[in-house]
């Protein structure tokens, strides 16, 4: 305790009183040599990340999607090192954004009031997410993230789900019509699945498989064909 008090005095500069002098450099090696526990390959580590995944299937027949359907996440990751080989951790996605560009087929026909051949149609899920993962590191490394494989479980809650349609109009005094439907009664707000990552320092390949369905039963409707469950993409650690 006395040592801690001494170090606090050193760090706060109370140890020495200088009279009207300008301190241009001041270092306290005694405090610097206290064991560190926060760092990329130390006991605790926190960093933010950006992730951009593309939907790659499989989807039910009738729920075809266009290329460009993707998910974007921005979040913060905490990693707790248990051994050089094994760590556990959790992610909190502040922003989790999934965007499905729909083909004009049975799904599109069913969720629209009228059958149309729209120029663009999207289902957008905006929310936040949580993930718990196991990390297996391999290869020798210093105080860096190094090479790793993660396997985990994730869950997302979508507080804003919308269905967006856009089309060109020829026979009206306006050229484009856009329609956004909200508070959709046929979508699930909660989704969950399993995740996997392979990474080297900040560069990560991310793979996800959604176990939950995007759609729920809605009175008078046939069961909606399910959207793609796999997504694969890149993640960049911001550190």
């Amino acid at each position: 305790m006395k040592k801690v008090f001494f170090i606090i005095l050193l760090v706060t500069g109370k140890f020495l009183i200088t009279a009207a002098q300008e301190v241009v450099l001041e270092e306290n090696p005694l405090a610097d040599t206290v064991e560190q526990t926060w760092g990329m390959n130390l006991q605790h580590y926190i960093h933010t990340y950006l992730r951009w995944d593309f939907m790659v299937g499989p989807n039910d027949p009738g729920a075809s999607y266009k290329p460009g359907s993707s998910a974007f996440d921005f979040g913060m990751r905490y990693k707790y090192k248990i051994s050089g080989f094994y760590s556990i951790g959790g992610d909190f996605d502040f922003l989790s954004f999934a965007n499905y560009y729909l083909q004009q087929n049975s799904l599109s026909e069913q969720i629209n009031d009228s059958v149309g051949n729209y120029k663009s149609e999207r289902l957008i899920f905006t929310g936040f997410g949580l993930e718990f993962f196991n990390r297996f590191n391999y290869g020798r490394r210093g105080n860096s993230i190094g090479k790793f494989i993660d396997i985990g479980l994730y869950g997302n809650y979508s507080y804003y789900v919308s269905h967006y349609i856009s089309d060109d109009i020829d026979d009206k005094p306006y050229g484009v019509i856009e329609l956004t439907q909200r508070k959709l009664k046929y979508t699930e707000r909660l989704s969950y699945g399993i995740s996997g990552r392979i990474g080297f320092n900040r560069w990560v390949v991310d793979v996800r498989y959604r176990l939950s369905d995007r759609f729920k039963e809605y009175t008078g409707w046939d069961k909606l064909p399910e959207l793609p469950r796999f997504q694969i993409g890149l993640e960049i650690g911001l550190f």
């Binding site: 001494f6 005095l9 050193l10 140890f15 020495l16 009183i17 200088t18 009279a19 009207a20 002098q21 300008e22 301190v23 241009v24 450099l25 001041e26 270092e27 306290n28 090696p29 005694l30 610097d32 040599t33 560190q36 760092g39 990329m40 390959n41 130390l42 297996f136 391999y138 290869g139 020798r140 490394r141 210093g142 105080n143 860096s144 090479k147 494989i149 396997i151 399993i194 996997g196 392979i198 320092n201 793979v207 498989y209 176990l211 939950s212 369905d213 729920k216 469950r229």
Partner: protein, 534 residues
């Protein structure tokens, strides 16, 4: 909700997919670089007169190193043949460490490790950017010609120049990422015309040509020996050079430390008296607590080079204002001259220069020099910054000292360069002993432990007062002080800009009886303990 059977099978596929990726990536990563250390050098023949350059023999005589040292014997070629047959590729053979670098899969390396003559197998792997320069930034010092003059005069280089001391006859090995334009640039014309580039080797590509790739080497070399339109960029304009490319430029795969060791053995063989290494390895490969001069291969190689009588001058690193903060390896090696950076404007520690001490609490840096310097650009000159350039400035200085005192052993040379520092005998973990001064060797500098500092004890405080007549109003008059414990470890240090005579007051109840307070002001140093007042 989901169909459990359907999802179970999909989850199973996902996990299988993950396992396949794991196996694939582990297999890809499975081939690694290893060091295979051998137990003995039985039946190895060695003739130092055939193996070593005459300068290497001369250096051994000066440093009292036996010519027949088993660490110079070649690696047993029977062992090499057996190991080569078991691995993917056998690479460099280290005489110093009696070891072979190999590329092998884990199953292959298991077989190798079971051979009766194998002492140990170590994985050598990693990545990271290791050049100790930071981006070119002219804001910090805009006056280009003045900086060029100052980087020489800050070491009192004019004393060497007046005495015709130019590092003549001293052989310097420079390890870097390549030396583009050194074969054409006019700052190196004097080297080419006088045949002072003795040998070159690219240890990355295993070829002679080093005049391509990373420009860092060109900039570093210019700070040792550059001469541009008659103006010195570095002090050792007549030294001889061995140029070795040891570093990759953009990516850093697995081999730089191995290349460093190979280049050091090559430099030893070819008679280098000084090695300049503006390189360093840190968080990609190591933790702070491994900066102890023993953990990294490159630190052990640098120590071995020092045992062979070579002065290794190396950069402290540019992590002073980063998360790492402390020195990089091999600056942590015990017997090397580690160089920190000085801000040319303020004349004290430049923020990016890494701090000491080593993790086992040895003092580093040893000395400092300008961390912003004029260097050779592709066709003229430019300003760049980093301890990469402090290091060659000191390297050129050391070469000049060795020309004056060819009888100096490498450790004597190291000690004398330290003693010539502006702060000596004061030291701290940001500046070491300060900037080396040529006057110490030519009679121009006088150390004077005068009565300019008065230390008194009253009212339970230690008061440090400066003689009012010595208070300078210019911006470069600083008071340095440290408090160190009985083991010699500095617990606190600081630099103060002096505005009046009463500089410092230390409450005695916070000082232990045997702790030393050391103070330095304008060339005067004093140290005191509370015991002195008892």
């Amino acid at each position: 909700m989901f169909n459990i059977t359907d999802h179970f099978s999909r989850t199973l596929y996902f996990i299988l997919f993950q396992i396949l990726i794991c196996i694939f990536s582990l297999r890809l990563s499975g081939q690694n670089n290893y060091w295979v250390f051998l137990k003995d050098k039985h039946r190895c023949e060695f003739d130092p007169y055939k193996y070593f350059d005459s300068k290497a023999l001369e250096r051994r005589v000066i440093n009292n190193i036996p010519l027949f040292d088993s660490s110079d014997f070649p690696v047993n070629q029977d062992y090499v043949s057996l190991i080569t047959g078991l691995v993917e590729k056998a690479d460099f053979q280290s005489r110093w460490f009696n070891a072979i670098a190999v590329d092998a899969y884990p199953d292959q390396i298991c077989l190798v490790s079971e051979l009766p003559f194998v002492r140990e197998v170590q994985l050598c792997e990693t990545s990271g950017n290791n050049l100790c320069n930071v981006s070119t930034d002219t804001d910090i010092f805009e006056n280009f010609p003045e900086l060029l003059d100052e980087q020489i005069s800050s070491m009192q280089g004019e004393f060497f120049s007046k005495g015709g001391i130019t590092g003549k006859g001293v052989r310097i090995a420079v390890f870097d990422a390549g030396f583009p334009d050194v074969d054409t640039h006019k700052a190196f014309r004097h080297l080419r015309e006088n045949g002072r580039i003795i040998k070159t080797h690219d240890f990355v590509k295993n070829r002679e040509n080093v005049y391509s790739k990373g420009m860092h080497g060109r900039m570093v070399l210019s700070c040792i020996t550059g001469l541009y339109d008659g103006k010195k960029i570095g002090l050792a304009t007549d030294a001889e050079f061995l140029l070795a490319r040891t570093e990759h430029t953009l990516i850093e795969p697995f081999s730089e430390e191995k290349n460093w060791l190979a280049a050091a053995e090559w430099a030893d063989k070819n008679g280098a008296q000084i090695i300049n290494s503006s390189l360093g390895y840190y968080y990609h490969r190591y933790f702070n607590d491994q900066m102890n001069g023993k953990s990294s291969l490159v630190a052990r190689a640098a120590t071995m080079a020092a045992r062979k009588g070579i002065l290794v001058v190396t950069a402290m690193g540019n992590e002073g204002d980063g998360n790492w903060k402390f020195l990089v390896t091999p600056a942590d090696a015990d017997s090397v001259l580690s160089v920190g950076g000085i801000n040319p404007n303020t004349r004290h520690h430049i923020s990016f220069s890494s701090y000491g001490p080593t993790s086992d609490k040895r003092m580093k840096p040893n000395v400092s020099a300008f961390g912003v310097a004029v260097v050779a650009s592709s066709d003229s000159l430019e300003i760049s910054q980093g301890t990469s350039f402090s290091t060659p400035l000191v390297c050129g200085f050391a070469a000049c000292v060795l020309q004056i005192h060819p009888e100096y052993s490498n450790m004597k040379l190291l000690e004398e360069v330290e003693k010539s520092g502006t702060l000596y005998p004061y030291f701290d973990y940001a500046h070491g002993f300060g900037i080396p001064q040529a006057g110490y060797f030519t009679g121009g500098k006088k150390q004077n432990n005068d009565t300019s500092l008065e230390i008194s004890l009253s009212n339970d405080s230690l008061f440090i007062k400066i003689n009012p007549g010595l208070i300078r109003t210019d911006s470069l008059s600083y008071l340095y002080y440290h408090i160190r414990n009985r083991q010699g470890f500095i617990e606190k240090y600081a630099v103060l800009k002096v505005n009046n005579e009463n500089v410092l007051q230390i409450p005695v109840d916070l000082l232990k009886n045997d702790e030393v307070v050391m103070v330095h002001y304008l060339g005067y140093s004093k140290e005191i303990t509370l015991k002195d007042f008892n």
